[in-house]
Symmetry: C2
Subunit: 321 residues, 2 copies
Amino acid sequence: MRIDLHETAKILENADKILLLCHSHPDGDTLGSAYALARALLGMGKRVRVECSDPIPKDFSFMLEGIETDDFEPELIAAIDVADIKLLGKESEGKYTGKIGLCIDHHGSNMLYADKVCLEADSASTAEIIYLLLKIMQVDPDPVIASCLFTGVSTDTGCFRFSNTTVRTFEIAAELAKLGADTYNIIQVFFETKTKTYAALERLALDSMRFYFSDRCALICVTQDMYKRSGSNESETDRLANLPRQIEGVLVGVTMRELKDGSFKASVRTHGDIDASAICKRLGGGGHMGAAGCTLYGSKQQAINSLLKEVQAEIDAVTIV
Amino acid sequence: MRIDLHETAKILENADKILLLCHSHPDGDTLGSAYALARALLGMGKRVRVECSDPIPKDFSFMLEGIETDDFEPELIAAIDVADIKLLGKESEGKYTGKIGLCIDHHGSNMLYADKVCLEADSASTAEIIYLLLKIMQVDPDPVIASCLFTGVSTDTGCFRFSNTTVRTFEIAAELAKLGADTYNIIQVFFETKTKTYAALERLALDSMRFYFSDRCALICVTQDMYKRSGSNESETDRLANLPRQIEGVLVGVTMRELKDGSFKASVRTHGDIDASAICKRLGGGGHMGAAGCTLYGSKQQAINSLLKEVQAEIDAVTIV
């Protein structure tokens, strides 16, 4: 059942032992949103635990500071920024199926797997929703909570550059800055710092860029061999996803990454009316209008071909009107 | 004489024929600030002309739309975002020396060459100052004025990424978004779009990156030969300036560009306490704490050496305490 922010606030206020779940391969929005909410609920005297099936990258460790792990049987299990129960990771999926009482999310593709779903697909990030939720719950965010939320707000908008950025995004960013969010360092860490190994990987990735469909699609493919040559690894690939779409005239930017098992993770970024999530849905994935992903199998060339086929179908559907 | 925003407003309100001057090699802040102010003053029924000694790049053409060139003898000549009269360009410098009644600027290095100077060195951009000035002048910015100002606010902060970005920057960005600034397209044009020729130049530039002083300084040098090989040219080099400083551990990022006459323009970007403007001042240039520039002569190696000498002096001065 879909519920609004006020009902969401009531559900949280009425529970005393709350487990918050993040999606696997965690990003700034799922972690920032969950830890901001956890800190707010802890401040209200509740017992709270945040779980993620993957380790939390060190760049996010400020979010965990001062929070002790608490072991309890939860009264309420809430998934934060998790569009599909599968995204919890295999083990957690089995463990929590049918038990998730609440989901707070901004993905239009949300599978509505939770009892109650607070879904705002127009919101650029789940962090924006949490910000509004805390207002309703009359929580005064401290600088760490503000920093958690600013991490979600900035990372899910590519630092205010993606088309999901709205007037509200800027307003909330300003409010969070005023509340003491460490905006400068957050932006430095997530957008303005490249390790030498990432910089080397980026150059190899850019060298692999190929153009299709009269230059309306650009595709880069990151291979395991490139990790070896650059000294980099999969953990540094998230930012590559935006590079192909930056080229002038490109409507669909694709970044493929070869996984160790030989399959390929594809990140699709689009401009204008081209629906990235439509492309990825047809390949078993999902996401947003402008940014989506899926997993591809077979040889590198087969993976590229099956993706390009769907890219072409989507470009044709939108541009031939 | 230094004056505040209220006195600045009065000077502008009391003049009827106003000439606004931008610096040469114009950027988003000098143009966005000057055209926002011009549009506001035109709306008040005044005669206004904006002058720049260099052609205005096409990305800024929206600022000029609907403004007709007006030929008149100005009562007031105001330089906008121009730190030094030399930056007007040679011809204009000669023409306007001793005649500039007002300067509105945010460069701490401002040479105070104008009769009255409204200087706010803490402001991330001159556009922020103009925004506050229009408030005092009780101008309600229309969407085009808001877009002009947002261009200045975003470009001078590297889209909110530089250390000059403050809470006020975010607040003004939110206000401008609310007033109808075309934030998405402005950010796309200035930050998220690369021509194919620029992308090729960027790769050549990154290939030229060298590290000095235990990797605390990274330097790239763009040569005329690179323009030939990439099909790019000097007009596309502004964004290269931020690349060296992005590498983890780098405190001073230097981007040198070979000009047609064989001299080199150097852009210096620093982190933390390292003062870019101190480095550049010793070489005849200037700028801000985190971003400054200068021109170097001699062979490529001589130019690099003289710059590195000042970089080392500054690193030593700051890190050996």
